[in-house]
Amino acid sequence: MNEILEMVDWSRAQFAMTAMYHWLFVPLTLGLAFICAIMETQYYRTGDLHWKRTAKFWMKLFGINFAVGVVTGIILEFQFGTNWSNYAHFVGDIFGAPLAIEGIVAFFLESTFIAVMFFGWERVSKRFHLVSTWMVAIGASLSALWILIANAWMQYPVGTAFNIATMRNEMTDFWAVALSPVAINKFLHTALSGYMLGAVFVMGVAAWFLLRGREERMALSSIRIAAWFGGAAVVLLAITGDRSGVIMAETQPMKLAAMEAHYDGARRAPLVVIGALKAGETADGEDPFHFKIKIPALLSVASRHDADAFVPGINDLVGGNAEYGLMPISEKMERGRVAIAAMSEYSAAKRAGDRETMQAVAEKFDPLTPVGKTFLQDYYSHLGYGYLSSPEDAIPPVGLTFFSFRVMVGLGVWFILLFAATLWMSYKKKLDRRWMLHTLLWSIPLAYIAGMAGWIVTEVGRQPWTIQDLLPTVAAVSGTSTGPVMLTFFIFVVLFTVLLVAEIRIMTRQIGRGPDDVPPEAIIPPQLAKTEEKQA
């Protein structure tokens, strides 16, 4: 393997590992914060100490997860500067602005109100404490919003102009970046997946208490709140997931085609519900599946909301399809190389001190000039293809994307059924069935797997791009040697393993101890207390 590909692979492996480790903590923080806030609201409304005790128990687990997970995302930012320096420079202030806002929001909202949430129980008013808990929950989701806006821009770069003098993409329209359809939908889908995971975690841990015959009231009331919260989240997840498919068909058709292993474009395109993909490349026209179960026209419906719509396949996107206006990638590669040649011309002119040529080239990249409008549309928008060695380089790993998508959707369906069954059994007072409690407990890892599978679809499915159509990974990595990246990869393996073991140990120990403060038998619901007073 040549040096540059080794650098790309090790840098990607390190980034993927760090991001996946970071994502072990984020969704639980997002979901558990809201569940704590709902429980504390119950305490505020009813004055029932049971709810205070229950909220405090889940806050303790929230605190552990938050403390172990906090700042693990910063390592990703370290990697931008060291392993992905071309990319870090090229994205310019697109990342700077959202990350700065995220830092301020995280610091002022989360850090300030988390202190009140944990230290303020007996020291601030009930109302202020409740507001603080809600602010922690809202602040956590707002932090995620800004990170996801930055990620969405990489998938769908809008609201920016490229400056050839600084070699940076400069933000021209903040709201176009922040409110792009990809950003909004990505935030909703990702945050909702976190809310769902938080709910599954609460139901699973509460089920563990019921299996042990402990804390029955706390466990049953926690399960009911989590099931409502998670049930609402998973329904909205399905809606935003549907919207993701439509947006993807518009903005990243190759990702959609890879996700469905859809090679030959068609009207009334079928959706393969499940299938066994053949290993390696398949010949033109050969069925890529050993076997498959498909539903006619469903892919057209899912991606275009129209059963007769044409959905381009991988072969259409690579080789082009004149009937549907799809440019072949070989043509995009030629156009990308014209854009690269223009940058090269600028460099040569700068070295020679030729200001006239520099100005002429700069105009090509200026969207406000007539020549710029044409050049940006016809050539710069295909810049990244100029770095590809062959048209096939633009195809993401089909197998991994295909199976990850099915794992994510399959588990999504599982969780819809799980929340519905849990709510039904909760109201029918049938949550003493041990098989159901075991199902709830063992669904916790499934929620993490669903989230990871979703990220694999998003990130592996958009390969080879770091920035869609503009910068492939092969051009985004730093011009350094692979050795240090390999070394830090293994340092992270050790560090993350130690931290993860520490978290699981602390978390399981605190779960084992259960809620503290007032013992359950000392808590009498207010209505019951009034009745007892009257009887006395």
Binding site: Q79, G81, G120, V474, G479, I491
Partner: protein
């Protein structure tokens, strides 16, 4: 008045930390993690690749990298 608010905020945090029980171990973990990340990893392993270049030099360097990519 302003000083009073600052004093109360200080007392709030100081008392909160002093009364911590199981949270102490977590804070220790957070501090160790911050030390490893910023004092070891950032300092020795994650020096920004273009740290010693000014803005103009960085632009020239990236332009060179993107017009003559390594194969």
């Amino acid at each position: 008045m302003k000083r009073n608010i600052l004093c109360r905020a200080w007392r709030f945090y100081a008392d909160g930390f002093a009364r911590m029980t199981w949270g102490r171990g977590l804070w220790l973990l957070v501090l160790i993690k911050l030390f490893v990340m910023f004092a070891i990893l950032r300092l020795f392993f994650f020096t920004p690749h273009m740290k010693n270049m000014d803005d103009a030099r960085q632009a020239d360097y990236v332009r060179e990298q993107l017009t003559h990519p390594r194969q």
